[in-house]
């Protein structure tokens, strides 16, 4: 099936190949990356490969936001609190030096051991987490810092207090604020892109996904429980709603796939970080020369074009 994305990738490949003499290693790396994306799209992932992505995206050793920050940032300063009522540890915010520029970063953060997992609520944010993110977005806008967001959340926390504190409204307003920013925004889904909790910080100029990340409207278990009336049918649900990076690229939901080391990001976090850093830098470089109003206009136009109907 020759999708628009396939055609666009082919076009870029041809263009890059004809520039072979001008570029050095960077160009050939880019070529290799595009070639690999094209091959995966042409093949199309099988149901088994989709489920493998679900497992890798949730792997307990998979690098989290702070693992990448440590490897990619200099002079990182983590900031805390939503300036209202709490500091949600499931969301990390801060500013740091990335490839020679100060950027603002928002990331979902899971815990490594049981103590940290509890502290970070298994990566599931409360409304306070989105308000904390919004506070950083405002800071970025004020000072002209580009905004990076790393998404890795099973879903927004489904609890009584979360509802009382306005979970739905917080997710809506976080997206609305992102649609108003005049600074470049790059998002990468680095693990689980779980539903409303994920989209709250993913209304970006460039949305990327790591090769084995997943992006879903509902967890495979949740979907199975509703449509199959049996949560153990999660594998079937995942095969049906296709949350893998290749399908997301085909549907136009993401702009590119970030390669991972063979076997998944957890097998070599340093290499995974290098590959992620490269993609983030490239995306930022493409965006930084675009005037604020134009960025905002294009960002909204992109999201307003998403959907398939007759």
């Amino acid at each position: 099936m020759a999708t628009d994305h396939e055609l666009r990738l082919r076009e870029r490949l041809t263009r890059l190949r004809s520039l072979n003499l001008l570029g050095g290693t960077r160009l050939s790396a880019e070529l290799e990356k595009l070639q690999r994306q094209l091959e995966r799209i042409q093949a199309g992932p099988t149901d088994e490969e989709i489920w493998r992505s679900v497992e890798l995206a949730r792997h307990q050793d998979r690098p989290y936001t702070l693992d990448y920050v440590e490897r990619l940032f200099e002079d990182w300063v983590e900031l805390h609190g939503d300036r209202g009522r709490a500091d949600d540890a499931a969301v990390v915010i801060g500013i740091g030096r990335f490839e020679g520029r100060t950027v603002a970063l928002i990331g979902n953060q899971k815990g490594r051991d049981i103590k940290e997992r509890t502290k970070r609520n298994f990566g599931m944010a409360y409304p306070e987490g989105y308000r904390k993110a919004m506070r950083l977005m405002e800071l970025a806008e004020r000072h002209g810092f580009s905004l990076l967001s790393l998404v890795d959340i099973p879903g927004a926390y489904p609890g009584v207090a979360a509802e009382q504190h306005g979970q739905g409204g917080a997710i809506a307003r976080s997206q609305a604020l992102m649609s108003r920013l005049g600074v470049p925004i790059v998002t990468c889904v680095i693990g689980e892109g779980g539903s409303g909790g994920a989209i709250a910080t993913a209304l970006a100029d460039r949305v990327l996904m790591q090769e084995n990340a997943i992006y879903t409207v509902i967890s495979p278990e949740g979907c199975a429980a509703i449509l199959w009336r049996d949560a153990s049918e999660a594998k079937k649900a995942a095969a049906a709603f296709k949350p893998d990076a290749v399908h997301c690229l085909e549907l136009g939901v993401i702009d590119g796939i970030v390669p991972e080391p063979e076997g998944g990001a957890h097998t070599n976090p340093d290499e995974a970080a290098r590959l992620l850093g490269e993609s983030l830098r490239e995306a930022l470089e493409e965006l930084e020369s675009i005037p604020a109003d134009e960025l905002k206009r294009r960002r909204r136009a992109k999201f307003r074009s998403l959907g398939v109907y007759a």
């Binding site: 927004a156 609890g159 009382q164 997206q175 609305a176 989209i199 409207v217 709603f241 939901v253 109907y309």
Partner: protein, 238 residues
């Protein structure tokens, strides 16, 4: 509405439009939009079969009806959801219709009134249904940039993806009494967390108490309430 206890029964989209707008003023837009099946989605039954059945059952092409209307002499755009069509779930067509309603309002220089009733995003469209959240959010922001307000009327139920997108972005948000307005509904919260739920968990009354909505307006008073808002927003500089 029950004349004895005041309970608000589900109201169909056409009946809602008739109850809010001046007689004969409604002119529907984008009525011919239909869902596709981009994922070839099949659970216990194919998505296309569910769609066909919903259209036969409801007489509607999708879970949202949009169009131009006049409420008590005030021109506006209406975007009204119908819970009977696949639980009012939001897929690509609902997102596109809402998006067009925002554009129509902006072009004609009138406010948008949305009436929601939805279980959330439509799972059968996978990640594309999640993308209707940012899509509708961007549409509201474009409407706001064009200087027009949005009045959001939340009816039972307004949950998940619709609550977490355009419905929560109204300049004024009103709800019907007893409506469930929650990102996560009580059953899932209970099952996941085993927490004891307060009696009015997620209901309009709790949302008002916690500051998430502006008012609870019983159905018979809704038209007058909305028309008062339309007059206030419209009289600035006219």
């Amino acid at each position: 509405m029950c004349p004895h206890c005041g309970h608000h029964f589900t109201m169909r989209a056409r009946a809602r439009i008739a109850s809010l707008s001046d007689e004969g003023s409604f002119s529907e837009e984008a009525a011919d939009l239909r869902s596709e099946d981009p994922l070839d989605f099949f659970d216990l039954r194919p998505y296309t079969e569910r769609l066909a059945e919903a259209e036969m059952k409801t007489g509607l092409g999708e879970a949202m009806v949009i169009g131009q209307a006049v409420i008590d002499g005030n021109g506006c755009e209406l975007a009204v959801m119908d819970f009977s069509f696949m639980g009012g779930s939001m897929g690509s067509v609902v997102g596109e219709k809402f998006s067009r309603a925002c554009d129509s309002a902006a072009q004609r220089g009138v406010p948008l009134v949305s009436v929601t009733a939805s279980g959330g995003a439509r799972m059968q469209e996978g990640i594309l249904s999640l993308m209707q959240l940012p899509k509708t959010v961007c549409a509201v922001e474009d409407l706001h940039d064009a200087g027009q307000p949005m009045i959001s009327v939340m009816t039972h139920p307004t949950t998940a993806g619709v609550l977490a997108s355009f419905a929560s972005l109204g300049d004024v948000i009103v709800a019907e009494p007893g409506a469930l307005l929650a990102f996560t509904g009580p059953r899932v919260v209970q099952q996941t967390t085993r927490e004891k739920l307060p009696q009015d968990f997620g209901l309009a009354e709790q949302n008002l108490r916690f500051g998430h909505i502006d008012a609870i307006v019983p159905r018979p008073e809704l038209r007058a309430y909305v028309s008062r808002l339309l007059r206030l927003f419209g009289s600035n500089g006219d």
